[in-house]
Amino acid sequence: MGNRSFRRYLGVIILACLLGSCKKSESVNTAFYYWKSTFSLSAQQSDILKQSAGNNLYLRFFDVNWNSQYHNAFPNAIINFNQRANSLKITPVIFITNSTFENIAANAVDSLAIHCSALVNTIVLKQKINYKAIQIDCDWTLNTREKYFSFLKSFKKVNGHFLEATIRLHQVKYMETTGVPPIDKGVLMFYNMGKVTTNASQPNSIYNQADAVKYISRIAEYPLPLDVALPLFSWSVHIRDGKVIQIYGNIGKKELSNTANFIQNENMYRAKKSFFLNGIYIKESDNFKLEEISLVTLKNAANQLAPHLHPQKNRTIIYYELANLNLSEFNAQSLNQISADF
């Protein structure tokens, strides 16, 4: 499978070269991920989706988790539609935890694939969604590689659609050991590359140039066509007694800037008291390290990555993600400019 895709990929490169456009591919598509379990877009979100991405949406349909009580894999956080999505160009995404493959029996992988495909099809049928491709997101490892790849093969067989899967940077760097998945196209996740630490001066773990360098050199060797996923999110790292205890997407600059609750020291925010905030209990003296992606950082990321990618027609740049997008920092125009760098 991998080989076939590779040949097809080579074909694309050769064709592109013959046409004299080997330098840069002309057509880049922009798209968004949507990761919340209730599908409901605000007017601004709909606008930016339409204007910058031509309504291209990678929509998380459900997760698959391992349930240790029932010794089985089950879907979780299945998407709920508060509004119609059938006017959009939807690519369903399934997120499967690695622990699912750590625990599942090898002979249960086929039926997992059948279940997943059936659930996707029930949802699209109900929502009258047409889809051309489907994406699987799983941070597989050496130990789960065999089961995950056989899942992908079965899934392709059952589902029949163009199959994509996310590729993390470590999977590119160590492609010989982690293997290349049997899919039609990969999506390179160009984020979450650094260590999440308690150290205030440690560079941003979502994206930083120094960490990216460690992974970037082998991207061109990767034997699959690659789309790119870029980060459009921020998070805060919750630190207690000198240890990282959690990461939150729902505690950001707005919450941390409240001086009644926090004392700021650069990107560190120390709690002045013990209190509840957005469903989280914060203890006096807890620290929050804010890690943000600004337009400038995003541009740097794009500039760093682009030269390392093989030219590819119709590459899609997928931004993660639409539901938590900071609309004061990013707009359709700026995102299109970034996509154009590829």
Partner: protein, 746 residues
């Protein structure tokens, strides 16, 4: 109240919590699921307590059993209430009314002559409705649904059937259950509560039904379960204050209700929590709220608040145990020195707050279990290394301990042992006499000779033994140090090993020595085997044989291959599967070596005997087919790279000197060029192995497979220059690529 199967598993796996403080000794049993567990939501991974569909089954059956006054057997009730379908109920009813004569299934029995028919009719009528309600209320929690759990359509008449049954029922037992069904019905089916965002509607069915009749019925499990649904209604509406308050009341009611109530307790913002507190009508209610906050989020803060409200509240018991057990986790990294400097300061500050609070409460001695607080304060101070304070608290606790409580007494004993041993600076014979009893007690617990349910003693053995070993080490008593903490370097010196053998074989051991040896991991056989091994590599075969003869149970007991054979290319697997006329044990191996040596000394057949001895010494190195010989309990069996062999023995079992010496002796006495060629090539192998030994010693982080190809060396040249006329030379060319490359230059 059944809390079955919650057992603290001792020492069987390395994954359980690091703990020496048993909440079981101090905290009421009903809090067991909430004892601290580092890996699981509920203590010891007890997932059964999390089963929402079956949680109340036992209670429900018991209540109906009481209602029927034993007229129906428990299995029959269990079947009717929990298992039977509508059809099953009808069939039982037909049987009671004499319409059918056979009752199904066989496991149930109804003695109709004894049965109160009116009550049975009540049950029958109730079950008809209840089974209908279960369709939406009791659902399998997981499955490949397209929308999370789809509820089957509810019969349009159900609402009116339930309310008219309620209005017509005269029996308070039945009436309350119908009331519960109605409250639950509206929780699941009332349209006004379906939307999350809608404001609270006081006319919502669930609230109307609950509020109208809440004063009518006894405040039993059914009452609080109904309240739980009301709390759920408020939670769904985002009114966390009301919901938390009601959940806290449910939590307080019974063991079964604690789990779902704790699980659902939630504050979104600080205002929610403040509003929750305001709803508490009494100090006791407020204490439960703090208790719930403490359990989930912040036990230190909660204990502080509760102690101020009521120093006698037992709601602090669980929280205190969680504080201690969580600190042990921190302490564990302190014990093993794993904490990074940068985090030390933050941890220190949290520790101080924690210790100060627990100290201050313990010092007041004004709660219901002062011994608990003093033990906890003592132990916390021990964890954070203030031994003086720890001792003071333990002394106070000692006088307060309840009489005849085996677990608490043992807990006290365990904690004081830890402190006393840690406080030791020197150990003389007097000290030894003093610590004999506690050390024996611990090792008896380990060996199951003494059993104290729920006592968490396991880590104490290692901690005490380590500390004692350190002191002996400082005092230069390496023998005793090694008994308490076994170290591989100890075994490099045969005289050390002999001292240990002497101690173990001494007929009159002191009580301390006897106990000490129970901490020592190896057997006498293992020591003899080891001595024999050392002597073998020293070429003292006679003495080695003597020692080996003392071994009663040999391990390893049989060598995989014939150790006297040689092979051009090393292939252990080939040698292992090769047909062997004689299998050698380590003992018969040494015996054979001895007789070969004797012949050699006598000048008999020198070439052949030197050759056999050379092979034997080659084979018992890392590179040979008999490496099993040295892979004993003491040296260990890791063999994929010489770099991983226990460091003190690496040289002994990899060195090629002895083998090479005998190959050269064989060569000097060889008669034919074939023989000489053979000896030269084997010497070349030794030479090349030495190169790998050197590589391994100089490159700690690499394995020998990564080593560059060695230079050709002396013996390759000899072979090429002197023996190219032999058949063996041709074989070598065929088999050994390195040699071929050397000869051809390609």
């Amino acid at each position: 109240m059944a809390i079955a199967g919650i057992v603290w598993a001792c020492a069987d796996s390395g994954e359980e919590n690091f703990s020496m403080f048993s909440p079981e000794a101090f905290v009421a049993k009903e809090y067991t699921p909430f004892f601290y567990d580092a890996s699981y939501w509920y203590y010891s991974g007890n997932v059964e307590v999390d089963d929402n569909n079956n949680r109340f089954n036992d209670q429900i059956v018991s209540e109906w059993d009481a209602y029927f006054n034993d007229q129906l057997s428990k299995p029959t009730l269990r079947y009717l209430l929990l298992k039977a379908s509508q059809k099953g109920i009808d069939s039982a009813n037909n049987y009671v009314n004499g319409k059918i004569t056979k009752l199904k299934p066989d496991s149930i029995q109804i003695n109709t002559s004894k049965l109160d028919k009116a009550k049975f009719n009540n049950l029958f009528a109730y079950l008809k409705l209840a089974k209908e309600c279960e369709k939406f209320a009791v659902i399998a929690p997981y499955g490949w649904y397209d929308t999370p759990p789809t509820l089957p359509p509810v019969s349009a008449k159900l609402e009116s059937s339930l309310s008219s049954a309620f209005n017509n029922s005269k029996d308070p037992f039945i009436k309350q259950r119908l009331w519960f069904q109605l409250v639950r019905y509206y929780f699941f089916n009332d349209d006004t509560i379906k939307s999350k965002t809608g404001a609270i509607d006081n006319k919502a069915g669930i609230l109307v039904w609950f509020n109208n009749y809440k004063g009518t019925f006894p405040q039993n499990l059914t009452y609080y379960r109904a309240m739980g649904y009301v709390a759920g209604y408020y939670r769904r509406k985002g009114n966390y204050a009301l919901s938390n308050y009601l959940y806290s009341r449910c939590y307080d009611y019974s063991y079964e209700l604690k789990i779902p109530s704790k699980f659902s307790f939630h504050a979104q913002q600080e205002t929610d929590w403040r509003a929750t507190l305001k709803l508490a009508k009494t100090n006791a209610e407020k204490i439960t709220l703090w208790h719930m906050l403490g359990m989930e989020y912040d036990p230190v803060r909660a204990v502080k608040e509760i102690a101020a409200l009521d120093p006698k509240s037992d709601k602090m018991d669980l929280l205190l145990s969680r504080i201690i057990n969580m600190s042990e986790g921190e302490g564990e990294s302190n014990f093993s020195g794993k904490v990074a400097d940068s985090t030390q300061q933050a941890i220190k500050k949290a520790e101080v707050t924690e210790v100060n609070l627990i100290d201050s409460i313990a010092l007041k001695n004004n709660n219901t279990k002062p011994y608990y607080w003093n033990l906890a304060a003592g132990y916390l101070n021990y964890i954070y290394k203030d031994y003086k304070k720890a001792a003071k608290f333990y002394d106070v606790a000692k006088k307060q301990l309840p009489a005849n409580d085996k677990l608490i007494t043992a807990q006290y004993k365990l904690l004081t042992i830890l402190l006393n041993i840690d406080e030791l600076q020197r150990i003389d014979s007097k000290t030894e006499a003093k610590i004999t009893e506690p050390l024996t007690w611990l090792v008896n617990l380990r060996d199951g000779k003494e059993k104290i349910a729920a006592l968490r003693f396991d880590p104490a053995l290692g901690i005490c033994a380590n500390h004692i070993a350190q002191i002996y080490q400082k005092q230069g008593d390496w023998l005793k140090a090694n008994c308490f903490k076994d170290s591989i370097t100890f075994y490099t010196d045969s005289s050390h090993v002999q001292k240990l053998v002497d101690l173990m074989t001494k007929p009159q051991k002191s009580a301390f020595e006897t106990t000490m040896l129970r901490y020592y991991p190896h057997t006498l056989d293992e020591l003899y085997y080891h001595q024999a091994t050392l002597l073998t590599y020293k070429e003292e075969v006679d003495k080695a044989l003597q020692k080996m003869s003392l071994v009663k149970k040999m391990s390893p007991d049989t060598l995989y291959a014939n150790p006297f054979n040689s092979r051009l290319n090393d292939c252990h697997d080939c040698d292992h599967v090769a047909h062997q006329k004689q299998k050698f044990s380590p003992l018969t191996f040494l015996k054979t070596m001895q007789s070969i040596k004797t012949d050699l000394k006598a000048g008999k057949d020198v070439y052949r005997n030197a050759w056999l001895l050379a092979n034997a010494y080659y084979n018992i190195t890392y590179y040979g087919n008999g490496r099993l010989f040295y892979q004993s309990a003491i040296i260990g069996a890791i063999d994929f790279d010489p770099g991983y062999i226990s460091a003190p023995f690496q040289k002994m079992v990899t060195s090629q000197n002895i083998a090479e010496k005998y190959y050269l002796l064989a060569m000097a006495n060889a008669q034919t060029d074939e023989q000489k060629a053979r000896c030269t090539f084997m010497a070349a192998k030794c030479e090349r192995n030495e190169y790998y030994n050197q590589y391994s010693a100089n490159n700690k982080n690499s394995e020998i497979e990564q080593a560059p190809v060695p230079t050709s060396g002396k013996y390759f040249a000899d072979l090429k220059n002197h023996y190219s006329n032999t058949k063996y030379y041709q074989e070598v060319l065929q088999e050994c690529g390195y040699f071929k490359r050397f000869v051809t230059g390609k």
